[in-house]
Symmetry: C2
Subunit: 181 residues, 2 copies
């Protein structure tokens, strides 16, 4: 959960990074950034800010904003039955960004959120510069993290209904509860 | 057809606009901008520059660059048999951009390329500011044009194989011939 006042502060921090990066949004878009804490209630360590640019039944585009040192928890997009599952293309846009995928442990720039070692199984680090892209087919686990500056990235994907992302951490809930105080 | 030397000049003009707009690409991407003249051999009037950012069997993203006053000819993305056809999301990124769709004739900022009236049937003008988006379902005709500054826009779409865009102008060929001199 997030206190309402903190939620607003984080939305503003995300907008500040967007402006620092020189990314132009419409006024409507500026007002609809969503803060996701994954139900973990430690938004500055684990969480992400999301602006959905477009979303149809077939295709979606999102701008993702990570505050400095913020981590998106390890997850994957499952295939279910005849549904092939979500295919996601990541494009680094601005700032310090590192992705973690399966492969040898070469972790250097990043860190595992404190006390969460068991929920971050992947330790193969990919440093992403602006314009760098990664394609995640359904079922492929990944997590990512911003460095000191924070980071902006695009997520383009096929749109999948009736399935949900899966997370390594069983404590995760996709709904962010906002409380008054 | 385009003379090889002119092709290179136009690629550079597209890069100049990308730099002016502050869009960061990788070095590899900077080297692979494609110039499309639609076989019409009047690239400065009708044509477009295309950088494919990503393309899988399910989803594609392109950066489109229009030089000042350049026009993308009227076209649509057909459905064929069981193939629902390409759904395209346009997002204006930088510069002077106008789209033409079906609706009442309110054309004001733009113009029909000289002598091509019969190949541009749509005259309903939409002025696009950075961040503005349009969604084109399969079969929906459209054309677009840059103003004095030129324009940059993103095209995100489902990827469709074995079908091709259709153009109002029957003289159009999708292959741009490059000749030595």
């Amino acid at each position: 959960m997030i206190v309402k006042k903190v939620y607003s502060i984080i939305q503003q921090k995300a907008l500040d990074l967007i402006d620092k990066a020189g990314i132009v949004l419409t006024m409507e878009e500026r007002g609809k950034i969503v803060v996701a804490d994954f139900g973990l209630s430690n938004i500055y360590e684990e969480g992400i800010q999301i602006l959905t640019l477009f979303e149809t039944e077939r295709i979606a585009g999102k701008l993702l904003i990570l505050l400095p040192g913020q981590t998106e928890p390890e997850h994957w997009h499952p295939s279910v039955g005849n549904d092939p599952g979500k295919q996601e293309i990541i494009r680094a846009l601005w700032g310090d960004l590192r992705f973690y995928v399966s492969g040898e442990d070469n972790m250097n720039a990043g860190f595992i959120p404190k006390g969460k070692e068991e929920f971050y199984s992947l330790r193969h680090e990919i440093i992403m510069s602006p314009g760098d892209q990664l394609i995640f087919d359904p079922g492929i686990k990944h997590w990512f993290q911003a460095g000191h500056e924070g980071a902006l990235l695009y997520s383009f994907s096929t749109t999948v209904r009736d399935t949900m992302d899966r997370f390594t951490d069983p404590n995760i809930e996709r709904i962010t509860k906002i409380i008054e105080d």
